[in-house]
Amino acid sequence: MKHKIRLTINDELYEVSVEPYKTLIDIIRDDIGLIGTKKGCGTGDCGSCTIILDGKPVNSCLILGVEVDGSNILTIEGLRKGEELHPIQKAFIEHGAIQCGYCTPGMIISAKALLDNFPNPTEGQVKMALSGNLCRCTGYKKIIEAIMNVGSQ
């Protein structure tokens, strides 16, 4: 049996009917159609599916849609304002923090959650904030530099 849930995603309200076993990542990607959030493992280990749920970064593959009825969600699509990129997005591009780009949405969202709480993070805080986001291409260095650069501005 399907359950009707309401989600506010990137400031827009959505009402969807979902199976009780359906994970938030699948709802965001399949039902809402926001495919910027990626699925890398489905077991909460890689962080590609990171979203901000009621202010906190979470792995959306580990959450059932029916658990979070009424919640507020930010995905990668919600960061830019029209044509203007978010400073974290700009910094990732300028610092060469993106290679294949598959982990990038999750990385940027984790960075956003960190900077919302700690606008001037230490390098240690940045590394800890990204410790649940795996990247196989960049070696993390330029990602850390990009976030530190946003923090220092």
Binding site: D45, C100, L134, R136, C137, T138, G139
Partner: protein, 781 residues
């Protein structure tokens, strides 16, 4: 929707200041799509009526298939098709031209846990997954063998009836006179090194969508770095003509050599699509990524080296045993390159390598960032430090004495056109404060390792030649379309090729649109592997741009009433040399040619290096690569002797990149290569027990994360290769290769413990420390 370009700061401190685009830190041109979530990867594509597939895999490492009953599964609601080998062509495939023995779905036998047995297409993924349990397969379990050395023993279980001792292939490559070489040596060293099976761990899993149209034309969207390999192989397996197959790859979420040839995924999706008349998507889950995708070949390397007291190498002999796994793929080519890296790193006058490629009941292997290089270098560079210590010589000095030099032809026939190995060694020692830090005592240590690698692909190891083609089209407003068959898989080749065309044609990068990754549109090329696209694809792009410029100059010369050779192009304008006021814009010339005269301007160039020769079939002699890349990594570590835990604190990396076309992207390659190399050194290994992978997830198979990345300092050495585009050569794979041996050497420097078996995990450190203490006690008695 057009996104406003971010204000990208291009630092002008790039190395090639005589150039407008070469040597500049240009951000990747497609990164805006990735930063915004706009980039569409395979799993983001949904077609109308699309079905979802799942694969039933063998739970046994070696068994006969007695019967498969799909009746219950077929009746399950939502299931549209269930296929077994009987529904396929039963064509056996293999990438290299050796004995093909892998089938899309196994018919008589399964040979590893994860071998594909049957597949289902259903209305959704959940249904497809559930129904796998309803397919009933009756197996007769056969004895299995997992260790390649045991598999070679007489009496070992036979994986193929017609294959004696499970040896899939074997070869000897000998140059010079090793007997004489060892006679001349003052000291001889013999060691055994082992390298583990590791997987690519691309964050995007392998996957594809197959769809037939009404006239039986097949389109496959897939996660590949080489669309033409997939197209050719699929045509063979499906028995349909090549031009009836269109391969499109969306953005590729990491590949590292591991997405260059077909997996059974693409043909399974195609057979299901054919049977159901609907598009079929098949994407691996993460567990399948670990148990069924192909590993970097695990190898055992017996290495024997002779050396004079003054440090000059006289002879090297190696026996390389490659764990081929259950099926053939690339092991002959990769093991050949392992052997010739053993023969070609440093000046070794006499070399003999013997290779055994051995079947086991494990998942099979493939390329993974380095084509046999990581394995060869771990052995050679670990042993170089063993030699240096015995000679009481600084490892840096030993390497400098034996370093390859520009102009060398190695005994193997490699012609080294440009070589910055000596500069890399000296400079990386300088920036790492090598002399000072070598004198410090544990638990801190410092170690180094070098790399020699193909800097532009290689011949004969990948089944044939080495070529790329670029097609260019000028539009009436002066903008340009560039079409390449080489794939950008995140390394940034689209950006590099755009920079090259912009520089050569004298137009801005914004006026160039590059298209890749679609076999209906792009020219035939060999794709992305072997650190080849900058060199081979870059040369094709440079020549195509040059040809377009020649044609533009012909039109402009007529308009300006001068001779074409008196013209030059820069900043979107065509000038008369020496007369800065006399010019036309490229858009004016283009408009005049195309719209007014009806003469379109295009160019097409195929680049294939002239200075290479494929391996001689009998001896293996040849200059396989148009250029060779060199590099040196210095690692600093801290070892906790109580727990055995190793922390890499610093990596200094110097690379001979020919010319740094884009330092920002090269640094990215090197930093990512280092991260993967540290994983190989300390963490990564598929834990196989009786053929079963015990760690098929990121929780138990660790790759390094953001908290474990050390400080990295990169140095780019420009040797300006005579044949490279603007002097450039490839760096993608060399970036990862020297890391593991540098870390191993640093560990030895810290605690005098030599681990010859990767990965160097805390338990191995503690065991070795215990043995060392025992040895010291015996020594005291």
């Amino acid at each position: 929707m057009v996104l406003k370009d971010p204000k990208i700061v291009i630092e002008m401190k790039g190395i090639g200041d005589q150039y407008s685009f070469i040597g500049k830190r240009v951000p990747k041109i497609d990164s805006i799509y990735m930063a915004t979530g706009e980039a569409k990867y395979l799993d983001d594509i949904k077609l109308p009526g699309m079905l979802y597939a799942k694969v039933l895999r063998s739970p046994h490492p070696h068994a006969k298939i007695l019967n498969i009953d799909t009746n219950k599964a077929m009746k399950y609601p939502g299931v549209k098709a269930v296929i077994t080998a009987e529904d396929t062509t039963k064509v056996k495939f293999c990438h290299l031209p050796v004995t093909p023995n892998k089938m899309v779905l196994a018919d008589e036998k399964v040979r590893f846990i994860g071998d594909e047995v049957a597949a289902v297409a259903a209305i959704d993924e959940v249904t497809a997954e559930e129904v796998l349990d309803l397919i009933e397969v009756e197996y007769e379990i056969l004895p299995a063998v997992f260790d390649p050395e045991k598999a070679m023993e007489s009496g070992a279980p036979k994986i193929y009836e017609d294959c004696e001792n499970n040896i899939a292939s074997t070869f000897v490559r000998e140059f010079g006179d090793i007997g004489k070489g060892f006679n001349e040596a003052d000291l001889i060293f013999e060691d055994r090194f082992t390298c583990p099976p590791v997987v690519s761990c691309t964050i995007e899993p392998h996957g594809c969508i197959a769809s037939f149209d009404i006239s039986n034309r097949l389109t496959v969207w897939t996660t590949t770095q080489n669309p033409y390999n997939i197209q050719r192989a699929l045509a063979g397996v499906l028995k349909i003509p090549v031009n009836n197959i269109r391969i499109v790859n969306a953005y590729v979420g990491g590949a590292f050599g591991n997405k260059s040839v077909i997996l059974p995924l693409e043909p399974i999706a195609a057979f299901l699509a054919k049977k159901t008349n609907r598009p079929v998507k098949l994407v691996n889950n993460r567990q399948e990524e670990f148990i069924s995708t192909r590993t970097r070949y695990s190898m055992i390397i017996y290495l024997k080296t002779g050396v004079k007291k003054d440090g000059f190498l006289t002879s090297r002999e190696a026996k390389v045993i490659t764990n081929n796994g259950a099926y053939n793929n690339k092991a002959t080519g990769i093991t050949l390159l392992t052997c010739n890296r053993i023969g070609n790193l440093y000046r070794v006058p006499n070399v003999r390598t013997k290779a055994f490629i051995v079947y086991t009941n494990n998942q099979y292997g493939d390329a993974l960032r380095g084509w046999g290089g990581p394995q060869a270098h771990f052995a050679v560079e670990s042993q170089m430090d063993i030699i240096a210590e015995a000679l009481n010589m600084d490892p840096l000095e030993l390497r400098l004495k034996n370093a390859n030099q520009s102009g060398d032809t190695t005994p193997w026939g490699w012609k080294i056109s440009s070589c910055g190995l000596t500069e890399c060694l000296k400079e990386v020692a300088r920036i790492s404060k090598w002399d000072h830090k070598r004198k410090q005592s544990g638990p801190k240590g410092i170690g180094m390792a070098s790399v020699i690698h193909t800097g532009g692909g290689s011949m004969g190891t990948h089944g044939g030649g080495n070529y790329s083609e670029v097609f260019m089209k000028l539009n009436s407003d002066g903008t340009v379309n560039v079409v390449t068959g080489d794939s950008d898989i995140g390394q940034g080749s689209d950006t590099i090729l755009t920079q090259i065309v912009a520089e050569e044609l004298g137009i801005s990068m914004d006026n160039i649109k590059i298209t890749s990754r679609d076999t209906d549109v792009t020219p035939v090329t060999m794709g992305t592997w072997g650190s080849r696209v900058t060199f081979i694809g870059g040369n094709a792009a440079k020549s195509a741009a040059s040809e377009m410029k020649r044609k533009l100059f012909e039109v402009a010369a007529e308009m300006l009433e001068v001779e074409p050779h008196n013209l030059e192009a820069k900043g979107g304008l065509i000038y008369v040399k020496g007369e800065p006021d006399k010019y036309l814009s490229i858009s004016e010339v283009a408009y005049s040619s195309i719209v007014k005269k009806g003469e379109t301007i295009t160019s097409k160039v195929t680049y294939s290096p002239k200075n290479t020769s494929p391996p001689d079939p009998k001896t293996g002699y040849g200059n396989y690569c148009p250029t060779y890349s060199f590099g040196v990594h210095v690692a600093e570590v801290e070892v906790d002797e109580e727990t055995g835990k190793i922390m890499v604190t610093n990596i200094f990396a110097a690379h001979d990149v020919g010319r740094a076309i884009n330092p920002l992207l090269i640094e990215g390659q090197i930093e990512g290569g280092i991260a993967m190399g540290i994983g190989y050194a300390l963490l990564e290994k598929l834990q196989w027990e009786s053929g079963k992978t015990l760690n098929p997830n990121f929780c138990t198979y660790k790759i390094i994360n953001s908290t474990e990345i050390p400080k990295i300092q990169t140095l780019l050495i420009e040797t300006i290769d005579p044949d490279g585009p603007f002097g450039a050569k490839g760096v993608g794979e060399p970036a990862t290769i020297p890391t593991a041996p540098a870390v191993a050497n640093a560990i030895y420097n810290a605690i005098r413990v030599r681990v010859k078996d990767l990965p160097i995990t805390p338990d191995k450190i503690l065991k070795a420390l215990k043995e060392k203490q025992k040895g010291e006690l015996i020594g005291k008695k």
